[in-house]
Structure formats: structure tokens, C-alpha cells
């Protein structure tokens, strides 16, 4: 079982307590109604889905219930960093970031 560090509980907790919540750092457009269909599609549906480092939202749903962000390697499934929602992407040293 993976142990995931929750930035709010400030400790590693078993992955069973967590739920994945999609890609992180997607800025919601300030004027949604003004978007063209193509721009809306890009914002709403299109995700980067890389092989390697991804920045994702996670939720400690069966713990403190908070959303937070994580950098994870999709190849090794390793969590490289977790940080509070609203914080900028952390600098990742090594790990091919």
C-alpha cells in the first residue's frame, strides 16, 4: 500500500484514505460565457496526461477531507511531493522534472 503525506494531517497516511481528483493547476476562466467552444473544450476536457511527472489534485476524503496537490510519477507511481491547495508547484530536484 502507498503511504501518502497529507499536508494538512502532516503525516503519511495509507492510500485507502485518499481519492484522486484530477489534474491540478487548471485555472478557471474568469469569463466563462465569453469562451469559444474550442477554448471551452480545451479548459474543460483536455488534460496533459503525460508519461512521467504529473501535478494532480488529491483529496484526503476519509481523513481530514481536505483537497491538496501532489506531484506524482505515473511510471513508478511514486509521490514526489504533496503541498497545500493554492500553493505554487514545488521545485522538484532530480526525478527528471
Amino acid at each position: 500500500m502507498l503511504l501518502i503525506h497529507c499536508p494538512y494531517c502532516q503525516e503519511e497516511r495509507p492510500e485507502l484514505e485518499f481519492r484522486h481528483a484530477g489534474e491540478a493547476h487548471i485555472a478557471r476562466p474568469t469569463d466563462m460565457a465569453a469562451l469559444s467552444d474550442a477554448d471551452f473544450e480545451r479548459f474543460f476536457f483536455i488534460r496533459s496526461n503525460p508519461k512521467g511527472i504529473v501535478f494532480e489534485r488529491w483529496r484526503h476524503i476519509h481523513g481530514c477531507a481536505r483537497f491538496f496537490n501532489a506531484a506524482r510519477d505515473t511510471v513508478s507511481d511514486r509521490f514526489l511531493a504533496t503541498y497545500r491547495a493554492g500553493d505554487p508547484k514545488p521545485a522538484l530536484d532530480g526525478e527528471g522534472a
Partner: protein
């Protein structure tokens, strides 16, 4: 010919009482899920008569009342004497949400030298005393059910769960007790 009605607790008459493991339904209690920002904490603590804990996985208690840290702005307050907790918070003007969940949850008291091992059969957290000391509490999982686990003594836990999950939680505990 009057008919009598009587409230039946979810786990009434259930549980087991062995030498090394006791699982008994807890007495009815009043419960509050409290959501509040840091600014409201002091006033709510004063109104409830205990300090709302600010540290993850901790509790504070006074008499029959306890507050369990669930999240950075969320607590489960339990009063085993049945006091009206909503009324206690009603006079606090600071912005907060206080929802009475007395009947949503039920609880069982798990104790004895095998308690931690049996709970570990369904709970993925480290329940050793250094990681989950006396007084620690956390929302977590037991099998497929969400619970709030509170260690009240070295060999004693209070397991809070939704009443509709309580049958499952107890049966899983019984199965674990046979195997562990």
C-alpha cells in the same frame, strides 16, 4: 389497550465480552459536527467548555464531553451525558456551522489486550502506541466503512460510525476477532 413504543439502538444486545477483547455498544450520546475558522475557535471553545484541538489527530475532553480533531476546520464533539450541543453553540456570533449528528452515528467501545490487533485487521493506519497514542483520534477506514477512531486508553478505543454501517463494522470486527 395502549401500545408502547420504545427506541431500539442500532446495536442493542449485540457485541461480545471476551477475556482479551470486549466490543460493546456505547451508550447513546449527543454529537455535533462543527465547522469553524480559526477566528471562531476561541468563542466556540468557551461556549463548549473545552479547548477545540488545533493539532491533527488529537482530542481534548472535559468531563463527559470531548472534541475530536477531524480536519483543519472540523471537529466531532461528543457529549456522553447527552447535553444539547447545538444550543451550547447557538449563542456564538462568529461564523460557524454546527450540525447535530447524534442519531447519524453510533459507537462501539473496543477494549482489551487484543483491541489494537483486531482493529488493525480493518484499519490501515498504524495503531501502535507511538503513532496513535492515548487521546489520538482520526477519521479513517475500517474495511469498507468510514469510521472515527479514538484511542481512549492503551487498550481501549471508541469506534464511531454511521448507524447504517454499524452492522457491517461489528460483523467485520467479529470475523477479525476469530482470526487475529
Amino acid at each position: 389497550m395502549g401500545e408502547e413504543t420504545r427506541r431500539i439502538a442500532p446495536l442493542e444486545g449485540r457485541g461480545f465480552d471476551g477475556e482479551e477483547l470486549r466490543v460493546l455498544p456505547a451508550e447513546p450520546a449527543t454529537r455535533l459536527v462543527l465547522r469553524a475558522s480559526a477566528e471562531a475557535c476561541e468563542d466556540l471553545s468557551a461556549a463548549l467548555g473545552l479547548d477545540l484541538p488545533r493539532t491533527p489527530k488529537t482530542t481534548s475532553s472535559k468531563g463527559a464531553r470531548a472534541a475530536l480533531w477531524l480536519g483543519p476546520d472540523e471537529w466531532l464533539v461528543i457529549d456522553q451525558a447527552g447535553a444539547n450541543l447545538v444550543a451550547a453553540c447557538a449563542g456564538v456570533p462568529a461564523f460557524h456551522a454546527a450540525v447535530d449528528v447524534s442519531h447519524r452515528n453510533t459507537a462501539m467501545l473496543v477494549s482489551g489486550p487484543r483491541a489494537a490487533d483486531v482493529l488493525s485487521a480493518g484499519c490501515p493506519q498504524d495503531l501502535s502506541l507511538h503513532a496513535f497514542p492515548v487521546g489520538a483520534a482520526s477519521r479513517t477506514m475500517f474495511g469498507k466503512a468510514e469510521i472515527v477512531l479514538w484511542r481512549t486508553g492503551e487498550d481501549a478505543f471508541r469506534v464511531e460510525c454511521w448507524r447504517s454501517f454499524s452492522d457491517y463494522v461489528l460483523l467485520l470486527m467479529e470475523a477479525a476477532a476469530r482470526d487475529v
